[in-house]
């Protein structure tokens, strides 16, 4: 969003950056060793639901492809619409790579349909905390909820410090947007 977009009042949502997501596959070992946290078998992609028939068609296509999946793809996929107009597609299965692949496939389909700006975030559960990938920023940030609307900032800073070498992380804590009550 440049100065001219502001000046002329043009709203343009930056298209989702999907590639940096793969870095998580290699960083998982680092997280396990240094933070003593294992991937808890739960991941999700969070999408803004758009009021458009083409978008609905993509949604159905995603469901079809992920449901078929094939023998290689062992994660169980579920779709869940929350009260705020966002769709959560959840992946449960022990293998982090499966979740990353599934998330990437989903994001790709949405991107091809021209709706890449509806990609909000991807979320991975590690024990009692989460790693969130922001599609706007193309970076990861930690999220440690301690209640319905409270979070452990000190621990979040420690986690970011630890994973910063292995992952592209969000430096600005103001962009560590909370995602309360995730269904994963």
């Amino acid at each position: 969003m440049g100065l001219f977009d502001s000046l002329f009042g043009r709203t343009k949502i930056a298209s989702g950056k999907t590639d940096a997501l793969f870095a998580l596959s290699t960083a998982a070992l680092d997280i396990e060793v240094k933070l003593d946290s294992r991937y808890a078998g739960q991941a999700a992609i969070i999408l803004r639901a758009v009021d458009n028939s083409a978008y609905d068609a993509i949604g159905r296509e995603i469901n079809d492809i992920l449901a078929l999946g094939g023998q290689d793809f062992k994660a169980k996929v579920k779709s869940h619409d929350d009260s705020m107009g966002f769709r959560w597609i959840t992946f449960s299965g022990p293998d982090l790579d499966d979740a990353v692949t599934g998330l990437h496939m989903t994001a790709d389909l949405i991107k091809q349909g021209g709706f890449s700006d509806s990609l909000l975030a991807a979320m991975f559960r590690f024990g009692d905390w989460y790693l969130v990938y922001s599609y706007r920023r193309g970076s990861f940030y930690p999220f440690v909820p301690t209640g319905r609307s409270t979070r452990n900032n000190a621990r979040e800073f420690r986690i970011r410090q630890t994973v910063a070498n292995a992952l592209p992380t969000e430096k600005d804590p103001e962009r560590w947007y909370p995602l309360w009550d995730p269904p994963i």
Partner: protein, 310 residues
């Protein structure tokens, strides 16, 4: 698969007409102000006086406006524990728009309305009234927040104060003409140019009145265009133009049931609100800060159709 167009063009398209009209209005304002400066310069208005006025106007715009708005509206900041749902909505929208999350403020008033203030996205506040939260469905409330967030993203507070800077200078000259005239004449006598000093003062006064009047219409035109832009942004951020449309309808009907006395209290805030707190429809639209409800709904409907075409 057939419904999916393989393109990266955003699903909502663009409104070139709106951008053009907005650019045109800003250009006209710029031209008007440039002409005003040339007139002031040619007529040798004392620089000290002029600079003093500009500093006064600038300082009041920079440091007072936000605080006055918050103070007159009676808004107070709320923490996320006090309104978790509202804060979560705000955070999601901010994440989608790639902006820092604005602070939220609460106004204990039954009139449904909302406004945004802040010169930059990092220090911005979005205020909502109790009436807004009570009357609107969550999806409609989100659309209103998205409208205000777009104001912040488009830096409307800064654009509008920049656009009205010289208009305020002109209005200062018109209103304080008595002192201004003395300052100018005194200066000209001192400078040994007494032949047509009185005439020059009159010309400066007339020019100021003219600039004030023309810029008034232009600034309000710009304000309406920026409301349209914020409506558009809300539709894009929420993905549903229909929610903002029904929110605006509810806000208008909510404003209708409020007693006149309460409305008059709120009137000074009208330029900031998502919807002006007034029932008078007789006022011509060119003098209004906001487009009429009909026009806004029409635009949102067009957007819905445009989205469907993609």
């Amino acid at each position: 698969m057939t419904a999916m167009a393989k393109s990266s063009r955003p699903w909502y398209g663009r409104d070139y007409g709106l951008s053009f009209r907005m650019g045109m209005t800003m250009f006209l304002l710029f031209a008007l102000y440039a002409a005003f400066i040339v007139v002031l310069w040619r007529l040798r208005v004392p620089r000290v006086t002029l600079v003093t006025i500009m500093i006064l106007v600038g300082v009041s715009q920079l440091f007072l406006s936000d605080k006055i708005v918050l103070w007159t509206s009676g808004a107070r900041l709320i923490e996320s524990q006090q309104a978790p749902q509202l804060h979560q909505m705000m955070a999601r929208l901010a994440q989608l728009a790639d902006m820092p999350t604005p602070k939220l403020a609460w106004i204990n008033h039954r009139m449904p309305n909302a406004f945004a203030i802040g010169k930059n996205p990092r220090n911005s506040v979005i205020a909502v009234t109790r009436g807004l939260v009570e009357r609107l469905e969550p999806a409609e409330l989100e659309a209103v927040l998205a409208h205000e967030l777009t104001h912040i993203k488009n830096r409307d507070a800064s654009v509008m104060s920049l656009a009205s800077f010289f208009a305020m200078v002109a209005s200062f000259i018109v209103q304080q003409f008595f002192f201004f005239g003395f300052a100018m004449e005194g200066n000209q006598r001192g400078g040994n140019r007494n032949s047509n000093g009185g005439q020059a003062v009159m010309v400066v006064w007339l020019a100021s009145v003219l600039v004030w009047a023309i810029s008034y219409v232009l600034i309000r035109t710009l304000s309406r265009y920026r409301e349209y832009a914020a409506d558009r942004g809300a539709a894009i951020l929420t993905g549903h133009p229909g929610y903002l449309a029904s929110a605006l309808e509810k806000i208008q009907s909510g404003v209708r049931v409020i007693p006149n006395r309460d409305l008059r209290q709120a009137e000074s805030m009208n330029a900031f609100y998502i919807f002006p707190a007034t029932r008078e429809n007789s006022v011509m639209e060119i003098f209004a800060t906001h487009p009429t409800l009909e026009h806004r709904l029409h635009r949102l409907e067009l957007m819905q159709q445009q989205m469907e075409k993609k």
